[in-house]
């Protein structure tokens, strides 16, 4: 009998119900934390039908950004008379003529206007030149709060027909969204979350910057009542238990390739044509050898037991694209890496996906159950193995939830900067293999409009289609459609030959002075000679998903020539490898040029002007599209140098975008922002919130870059970057928060459980502050505290520190985090319990009690044992009794020498002890003062004799053992006892009532007086509640103001001059709960009412 498979298959979702139709959401989340106020001037403009439709559409887009993130792109600081405002370009006829004016709270423009923190005021739309008049922000009375609902309704009608198809409530369960760069794929997925598909939805994407953007958007615009979780594919793998290095925090591709080169150096002579093409070989292995090695037969490739596809299957798969020989060399390289255990290190994401796919029938954690929609963005960045893993998650969500989720998948075949060999064809097969019949029910929608690029840039993107036509059919992405560009916006496409040296330096300088400008190399790595902190050149991979007003594509002509040569080799020499390489290079070129939102400069820095090659590229689209300029002319074409404060903001924005994907790149941008601050200060005022943000982001970037250095084994660089981070945090005024975090990390680093609780206490207490001032690091605090709590819940508090300090730390940590992560309080209780158990084991009963006293429902038995162990007999008796353990209680009562309690217990459970205890009690009674203080005194001899007799008697009684037929009880003859008439011990000895161990006593049982007695004693006043029409004090009958000890509301109304109904309404506003009849309030409540009435009377 064969073992059951551990790999997911579509059979497992057979019969699972399809998703339900979506619903229109009446309310949206509105929870981004940002409040957007709109001035009535702007409000009127926005709703004035005479205003330009395109401008208003763009303004609504800005409002969307403001509501989700508190900022919007393409912003500039106003200089001159209206300094202190920020303006964002809306567009207009013939150029950028109209701007939206707005300001953050804390900015000079809104100083003194009562704009609350974390708010934005949108003031007005003004013409480009209209900056010389100061602008008053107005006050609260002039503003309205904008909600997502206000603009979402209008936005829906602005969706294209294709986008409306994507978000349709009754479409098929699976929707495939295809589209070019800037066609609105991501926007469509975001919009889908504004409908109700169920209680929970999941958004997945490759880039953490996009995941974070999506989370911000959902916080404002997702349907109210729907939780939308946003995570990267890496986050998903970590959530499912794979914590392999480079999974959670992806290592930039360039660094992986660098490491790949180092690791394969010795093997390189055996690589044939790949010998000098490390980056292409890396891409080949990533996409095919490892990326297509899956544990089931797929598209005629047999199941791979190993991480890479077997030799024969691989050659068969790739021979038509590479030739047998070249494919053979590639698979040898894959084998070399796998044999040496290097796959996890060099291909971390693919490896993790394979590990998880190998065990994909295991249930997902509970939090994944109930997702009713799954949105997958940037699907083209997934290899086959990664896509299968992700779809297995979708299948498991369906199976565990009992209903399949809606599935939205968006991507673009021609943007595969990450080598994945993606094609819509194989994705369809993956869907079928993992989801079966459900996946066959799908809509495929192609978006054809270009929302991002102006017409000129869109034409160039269109022209790059010719790259793919030159390639082998197998390497050509399918589903090409024409692009409809934004006709409203203008942009330039320039060609500039700038050889290395003065010309290139001048280009770098020009780009450095432009707002939102980026130089991009259409390759996988930046050539060494271009690594320059001033230039900040990026790869296509690094800028994917981002947009800039000005993009410079470095070596554009050279790349075009290269592509032509590759195409030639494919055609003339049947060099199939060149076709494969050509596809990657074409994609990178396309991604690079499509980053431009306005102007594009195609640059060559080699000795030759290659403008003809570029002209050839665009000839079939628009022969006049590209304007050739020299460096000086380029300067004239670009805008005049931007204000330093705008450049600071631009660099800052880019640093923020790069933080999660490429901290080193982000650090470069952040450094530029920091370096520009002095210049910005010289040019004018720089808003303090901006300055703080610069240092905050620079610190975070330096810290994350230090982590990358450590990962790559460069300890010296890591240390320098760490020191740089500390300096930035200090300069930004976040030194205390950062030190708290550092101490916390240091404390929990080696062994979380042994961390100093004082550090934990301080970090937990600082969490709210860190969340506000260093939000990027708050998760770290959260996780570290969670690690500590988790650890102490298992191993107890460290005995190296004071127990009370640990309890205080644990309690505060749990309290702070309970509202963010339900169940944390349980960890605190578990820690207390575990510490108590361990303390009992080492006979530290006092310690155990300290813990147990802090637990609401501590085990009474354990508590009692601890009291007994600590010698606290009386407390032990009480707890044993409550727990129904009278024998133990009796033992402790006798240790406490509490004869009365012992006798009471012995009567019930140990009658053989009754006699001895009663005997003892009588001895005590015999020496009661009533019997000793009166009468003739004893002689000393009598005293000595009595002491001797008593001592011997007590000695015998202590050692005596009652025989079975000789119960000690019978020794006592009650008739011989003399009981003092007024003794405290006069209760009849045989009149013990059995104690109650079970059942519930009524309150009556605990008191000589009935419970109502106290109430009954209060003066009773019959109150005649006035009828509802009572108005004003003059109509109120005089009543006694005190009723049952409380103030009569009627009398109070008379006192403050309010009718009864008004007073009742006021109580509701003040949060005062009235009892039925609305008759009385307490003294304190009456004081509040009086105060409020007086306040309102004062106006």
């Amino acid at each position: 009998m064969s073992e059951p498979s551990t790999v997911w298959s579509a059979l497992l979702v057979d019969g699972i119900a399809p998703p339900s139709t979506g619903l229109v959401a009446d309310e949206l989340q509105d929870g981004s934390g940002w409040t957007v106020f709109v001035h009535e001037d702007f409000f009127h403009w926005l709703h004035d039908d005479h205003q330009d439709v395109a401008l208003r559409k763009r303004a609504r887009y800005c409002l969307t950004e403001l509501l989700s993130t508190g900022t919007c792109a393409r912003r500039k600081h106003v200089r001159g008379a209206a300094e202190g405002w920020v303006r964002t370009q809306l567009g207009g006829t013939g150029g950028s003529h109209y701007y939206l004016w707005w300001a953050y709270s804390g900015y000079p423009a809104v100083e003194g206007s009562d704009l609350p923190d974390k708010s934005v005021l949108v003031r007005i739309v003004r013409h480009h030149d209209d900056t010389d008049q100061p602008l008053n922000p107005g006050s609260m009375g002039d503003w309205d709060i904008l909600t997502p609902r206000d603009i979402a309704t209008a936005d829906d009608s602005e969706l294209t027909e294709q986008q409306q198809q994507i978000v349709a409530l009754d479409a098929k369960p699976v929707r495939i969204v295809k589209g070019f760069p800037g066609s609105g794929k991501t926007t469509s997925l975001h919009k889908a979350a504004s409908s109700i598909w169920g209680d929970k939805a999941l958004y997945l994407t490759f880039s953490s910057a996009l995941a974070s953007d999506a989370a911000s958007y959902f916080a404002a615009f997702a349907a109210a009542g729907t939780t939308v979780d946003s995570m990267t594919f890496g986050d998903l793998m970590v959530a499912l238990g794979d914590d392999g290095s480079g999974v959670k925090e992806p290592i930039p591709m360039a660094q992986l390739i660098q490491r790949f080169e180092e690791r394969t150096r010795a093997f390189r002579p055996q690589l044939g044509k790949w010998q000098r093409r490390s980056d292409e070989l890396y891409a080949e292995l990533h996409a095919y050898a490892f990326g297509m090695a899956v544990p089931l037969e797929f598209r005629s490739v047999p199941a791979s037991k190993k991480r890479h596809i077997g030799r024969d299957a691989y050659v068969e798969l790739r021979k038509s694209a590479l030739s047998k020989k070249v494919a053979g060399h590639a698979v040898e390289a894959a084998k070399y890496l796998e044999d040496r255990g290097l796959v996890d290190e060099l291909f971390p994401s693919v490896s993790a996906a394979r590990r998880l796919l190998d065990n994909s029938v295991v249930d997902l954690p509970d939090e994944f159950v109930g997702y009713s929609a799954v949105m997958i963005d940037e699907v083209q960045d997934l290899t086959v193995v990664e896509a299968m893993f992700v779809m297995s998650v979708v299948g498991r969500i369906g199976r565990q939830s009992g209903q399949m989720p809606h599935l939205f998948v968006a991507g673009d075949e021609s943007q595969t900067v990450r080598p994945a060999a993606f094609s819509w064809g194989w994705l369809g097969d993956v869907l079928t293999a993992m989801l079966g019949a459900v996946a066959r029910e799908r809509d495929e929608i192609t978006l054809t409009a270009n929302m991002r690029s102006p017409q000129s840039v869109a034409k160039l993107i269109e022209a790059t289609r010719s790259h793919y036509k030159m390639l082998d059919r197998e390497e050509r992405p399918g589903d090409f459609a024409s692009v409809e560009a934004d006709q409203e916006r203008e942009g330039k496409v320039l060609y500039c030959h700038a050889p290395m040296g003065d010309s290139w330096d001048r280009v770098v300088e020009l780009f450095g002075g432009q707002l939102s400008a980026q130089l991009v190399v259409p390759g996988m790595t930046v050539p060494a000679e271009l690594v320059d902190p001033r230039a900040q050149v990026a790869t296509a991979d690094q800028v994917k998903g981002l947009g800039y007003d000005l993009v410079g594509v470095v070596d554009a002509g050279e790349r075009q020539v290269e592509l032509l040569e590759l195409a030639e080799r494919v055609k003339e020499e049947d060099d199939r490898m060149s076709g494969s390489l050509g596809r990657l290079k074409a994609d990178q070129f396309r991604v690079a040029v499509s980053r431009s939102q306005e102007n594009l400069v195609l640059l060559d820095r080699g000795p030759t002007d290659l403008s003809d090659a570029i002209r050839d590229l665009v000839a079939h689209v628009d022969p006049d599209l590209v304007v050739r300029v020299d460096v000086d002319e380029l300067a004239a074409h670009l805008e005049e140098e931007a204000a330093a404060v705008d450049l600071v903001e631009g660099h800052l924005s880019e640093a923020k975008s790069g933080l999660s994907m490429d901290p080193v790149f982000a650090l470069g941008k952040a450094r530029s922002a920091v370096d520009l601050l002095p210049k910005a200060h010289r040019e004018g005022s720089v808003p303090q919130p901006l300055v703080e943000d610069v240092f905050r982001v620079a610190g975070v970037a330096a810290r994350q870059a230090a982590s990358v250095s450590r990962h790559l084994g460069d300890a010296r660089e890591a240390e320098a970057r760490q020191a740089e981070a500390e300096k930035y945090f200090e300069d930004g005024g976040f030194g205390d928060h950062y030190r708290t975090l550092s101490e916390l990390n240091k404390a929990v680093e080696s062994n979380a459980g042994s961390a100093d609780p004082r550090v934990i206490l301080s970090a937990a207490g600082s969490y709210d502050g860190i969340s506000v001032h260093l939000p990027q690091l708050a998760t770290e605090v959260f996780n570290s505290l969670g690690d500590w709590l988790g650890e102490v819940s298992k191993v107890g508090y460290s005995t190296d520190y004071e127990l009370l300090a640990s309890i205080a730390a644990s309690s505060l940590a749990a309290e702070v985090f309970e509202e963010r992560q339900a169940g944390t309080a349980r960890l605190h209780e578990q820690a207390l319990r575990r510490t108590a158990e361990l303390a009992v084991d080492r006979n530290d009963f006092e310690g155990a009690l300290t813990c147990l006293e802090s637990i609401e429902d501590a085990d009474v038995d354990l508590v009692a044992q601890c009291y007994e162990g600590a010698g606290l007999w009386v407390e032990a008796v009480g707890h044993f009794e409550v727990n129904g353990r009278p024998l133990d209680a009796l033992r402790c009562a006798r240790e406490a020498a509490d004869f009365t309690k012992a006798l009471e217990l012995a009567h019930i459970v140990a009658p053989e002890q009754v006699g001895r205890i009663r005997w003892s009690q009588r001895l005590v009674e015999m020496v009661a003062p009533e019997l000793t203080d009166r009468g003739a005194p004893l002689s000393l001899a009598e005293r000595r004799e009595l002491l001797k007799v008593l001592d011997q008697g007590l000695l015998r009684a202590t050692g005596s053992v009652p025989g079975e037929d000789d119960p000690v009880d019978t020794m006592w003859d009650e008739s011989t006892v003399i009981v003092p008439a007024e003794s405290d011990f006069s209760e009849p000895l045989d009149n013990f009532a059995p104690p109650v161990f079970a059942g519930i006593k009524s309150v009556k049982d605990f008191s000589d007086e009935p419970v109502t007695a106290a109430v009954d004693e209060l003066p009773k006043v019959d109150v005649d509640i006035p009828a509802a029409d009572t108005r004003g004090s003059e109509e109120v009958d005089p009543v006694t103001p005190i009723v049952d000890g409380f103030i009569s509301l009627t009398a109070l109304g008379a006192e403050v001059g309010q009718g009864h109904e008004d007073l009742v309404a006021l109580c509701t506003k003040l949060g005062i709960a009235l009892l039925p009849g609305n008759a009385t309030v307490t003294d304190a409540q009456a004081d509040r009412i009086r105060g409020r009435v007086a306040r309102e009377n004062r106006g």
Partner: protein, 220 residues
């Protein structure tokens, strides 16, 4: 039958952040774990509130099947009883002030005469948690229902101006970053200060400021 409380449900962790009904020498009584200092706590009890004991135990008996355990009294003087099923029930409205004797001194939810906002809070730490939102522009609490949590803001009830006014007054001693605060049955606000580790500070009384309306429950 025990009624679930529909308002702000306390989820305080600290033992000193709740009252308890416990079994005493002469029957059930009310206990307060009083934090004398970071290192010292005192167990204070009072048997002067049998009616309150009865209210709490009625719920505890019905849900937990045994009497005794934690409870809270909120600013509406509603008695809230958390039970072992992790729900919080309404036990009734109780209008008498709980006072405890600590070495001859009275410990009460009312701020002692002369106590000023910013002073250390000497009273019980029993209170209902609210949050001053970052920037001190609003006050909010989380309403939990099933698996869903909703943030309820004072600004939604009385408008942003009223909410911001109160939030700012309280934030003077809490810090602009906001954070958790507690309100007790005597309408006193207190909570952890901006510097972690320092004792709780008194933030002032609710006074004549407007507040969240009382939740709709049958208080008869």
């Amino acid at each position: 039958m025990a009624v679930l409380y529909p308002g702000n449900i306390p989820s305080n962790v600290g033992k000193d952040a709740k009252y308890s009904v416990v079994s005493g020498a002469d029957g059930y009584e009310i206990r307060l774990t009083y934090r004398v200092s970071n290192r010292e706590r005192a167990l204070l009890t009072t048997d002067a509130h049998p009616e309150l004991v009865e209210m709490v135990n009625a719920v505890k008996n019905e849900v937990n099947l045994v009497p005794g355990g934690a409870f809270y009294i909120n600013e509406y003087l509603d008695v809230l009883v958390p039970c072992t099923d992790r729900e919080c029930y309404f036990a009734g409205n109780y209008r008498h002030t709980l006072e405890f004797d600590f070495d001859g001194q009275k410990v009460s939810p009312k701020a002692p005469d002369g106590l000023q906002p910013g002073d250390e809070w000497p009273g019980p730490r029993v209170g209902i948690r609210f949050k001053i939102k970052a920037g001190a522009r609003d006050i909010a609490y989380l309403r939990k229902a099933g698996g869903r949590e909703t943030e309820v803001c004072l600004s939604e009830v009385h408008g942003p101006k009223v909410a911001a006014e109160l939030a700012r007054r309280l934030a003077i001693h809490k810090g602009e970053s906001g954070g958790r605060i507690y309100l007790n049955e005597a309408f006193e606000f207190f909570g952890p200060p901006s510097t972690p580790g320092d004792p709780f500070v008194y933030m002032g009384s609710l006074g004549d400021d407007l507040w969240f309306p009382p939740p709709a429950v049958n208080r008869s």
